[in-house]
């Protein structure tokens, strides 16, 4: 039997991406969108991306060299945004996981606190923004609070869910080995809940990322969302598109990173 050549797995993706770029180039070069600056070509976007990451001349005949955009390189804008969600997320984990464990294990706490948690979850985080600016000012403190409020309900809810899903006999087994109440939590409930906690964190990261980008509309510089907004309002469409692409690719990278962490922390997921 002759060996059949199989198409490599990456081929469809590459073909699609090339097609999208080609279509984009054609649309940008055509007169479909006017004025033309509203539809930058892929090359112009790439150019804006490079300029935003380097020292470059301000252009327009002015002989002045500036640092990236708004005095920060684009990657620095990105790092500032990532730092905000990093801190907000860390606080959300530190509060959400213990709260979820407590609510999951103690029925009375769950009954009392449950409705409040559901209420918090149902509020779009940006609704807090004005309130938080009034309380904590327009700088990073209010943004980190916002991200904390966005990220902690999904983490707490996933933790509660995980605790409630722990099989009764897994707890009974460890009690019959002589475990104390505290040991039941540390040696069974917490590790058994870890897959759910990580799922909650994954949801929270996605949520926090969309929230931080939107939150940076208010005094968001440096910040990738702030830059995306400002450049649009200044008609630097190519730069704005570059920021949008960076925001999207970062979201995908964050998700992939958490999946990687999941795989190494809970190798038993789906197997037991």
């Amino acid at each position: 039997m002759p060996e059949r050549r199989r198409t490599p797995a990456w081929l469809p993706a590459v073909v699609t991406a090339t097609g999208v770029l080609a279509l984009w180039t054609v649309v940008a070069a055509s007169d479909l969108v006017r004025p033309a600056y509203l539809a930058p070509s892929p090359l112009e976007v790439w150019d804006a991306f490079v300029r935003a990451n380097t020292y470059h001349e301000i252009g327009g005949g002015v002989d002045r060299v500036v640092r990236g955009e708004e005095n920060y390189f684009l990657w620095e804008h990105l790092v500032v945004s990532l730092r905000r969600i990093g801190i907000g997320l860390l606080l959300a984990i530190l509060v959400g996981v213990p709260l979820g464990l407590l609510m999951g294990t103690v029925a009375s706490v769950r009954r009392v606190a449950g409705p409040y948690l559901d209420f918090l979850r149902s509020i779009p985080p940006l609704a807090y923004m004005g309130f938080l600016v009034a309380w904590f000012g327009i700088y990073d403190t209010s943004k980190i609070w916002l991200l904390f409020l966005a990220a902690f309900p999904p983490i707490a809810l996933a933790t509660i869910n995980g605790v409630r899903g722990v099989r009764e006999d897994q707890v009974n087994a460890v009690l019959s080995l002589g475990a104390s109440r505290r040991q039941v939590v540390t040696s069974v409930v917490l590790p058994a809940t870890l897959p759910d906690i990580l799922s909650g964190i994954r949801v929270a990261v996605g949520f926090a990322w969309t929230t931080v980008v939107a939150a940076e509309l208010v005094n968001g510089l440096p910040g990738i969302g702030g830059l995306a907004y400002l450049s649009g309002t200044q008609n630097k469409i190519a730069l704005s598109v570059a920021c949008i692409l960076v925001i999207g690719l970062t979201a995908i990278a964050l998700d992939a990173l958490i999946r990687l962490i999941e795989r190494s922390l809970v190798p038993w997921r789906g197997k037991a």
Binding site: D169, S176, S187, V188, A192, L194, A272
Partner: protein
């Protein structure tokens, strides 16, 4: 009687006037109807009965996972109010923890007690060797076959050195060959360790072969309708279980147990 079984023991398990009802207000299902039962130290008591008769309920009451609706359960002179390390439980489904390797699972009891690392490791090795899993110590439970998981679970319970081992149809989900091998292993373990064992099964053969005393429970609400000593568990030290199974005495007792169940 070996010297082993003379060591201090938690004492007899006494089930006195225990009734148990599931559900509440109007919608209740009686599960157990006045059980009176004393299990002496060192006995291997098998409890057979049709499925749903309440035998697992009785085991879970003795384990302390539930409190009986009425009556009391004592171990030695202490009333059972919850699970305890002196009553090890082997579940029907192996409840091994997938975040620990097999060694970590077996060493869990000593670790919870705060045993030193060296002692934990030594105990784990000893009991892994006893159930023939030495080569699988570094595997995760889900990498093991069902029979090996069940052996690992038994090793975990024994490594915690309980006086009483409660086993809830531990071999029910296994294929016939694995089941027979584990039955033989259990008998060896029982003879060498002198543990008190309560073994739940729905298999008549299994009940007669393994029990030093065989109980039968009636359909719900469960009552004990048959209670006889059986010689085969002790005899299995000298005679191959295959021969024991083929003997006339075995057949006769099996028939009586079967009649008691029907």
């Amino acid at each position: 009687m070996t010297l082993e079984s003379v060591r201090t023991h938690a004492g007899a398990v006494r089930v006195a006037g225990v009734e148990h009802v599931f559900g509440s207000r109007g919608d209740t299902v009686p599960a157990l109807d006045r059980i009176d039962l004393t299990i002496e130290p060192g006995e291997l008591v098998t409890l057979a009965g049709p499925s749903g008769c309440g035998k697992t309920t009785l085991l879970r009451l003795v384990a302390g996972f539930m409190r009986p609706s009425s009556g009391t359960i004592t171990v030695g002179d202490r009333t059972v109010r919850g699970p305890g390390a002196e009553r090890g439980v082997v579940f029907q489904q192996p409840t091994l923890y997938p975040w620990l390797d097999v060694r970590g699972n077996v060493a869990l009891g000593p670790r919870l007690r705060g045993a030193a690392k060296a002692e934990r490791a030594a105990r784990a090795e000893e009991y892994l060797a006893m159930v023939g899993l030495t080569d699988f110590a570094d595997r995760r439970p889900y990498e093991l076959s069902g029979g090996m998981q069940q052996r690992a679970q038994i090793a975990r319970v024994l490594a915690n050195d309980p006086d009483i081992v409660l086993m809830d149809e531990p071999f029910g989900a296994l294929d016939a060959l694995t089941r027979e091998r584990l039955q033989t292993e259990l008998l060896t373990l029982w003879r060498t360790t002198g543990k008190t064992v309560l073994f739940i099964t729905h298999g008549v053969d299994e009940a007669v072969l393994l029990g030093s005393r065989v109980l039968v429970m009636s359909p719900r609400p469960g009552r004990i309708v048959f209670d006889e000593p059986a010689p085969f568990a002790a005899a299995s030290a000298d005679v191959d279980p295959v021969e024991l199974r083929a003997s006339a005495e075995f057949a006769a007792m099996t028939r009586r147990v079967r009649e008691a169940i029907a």
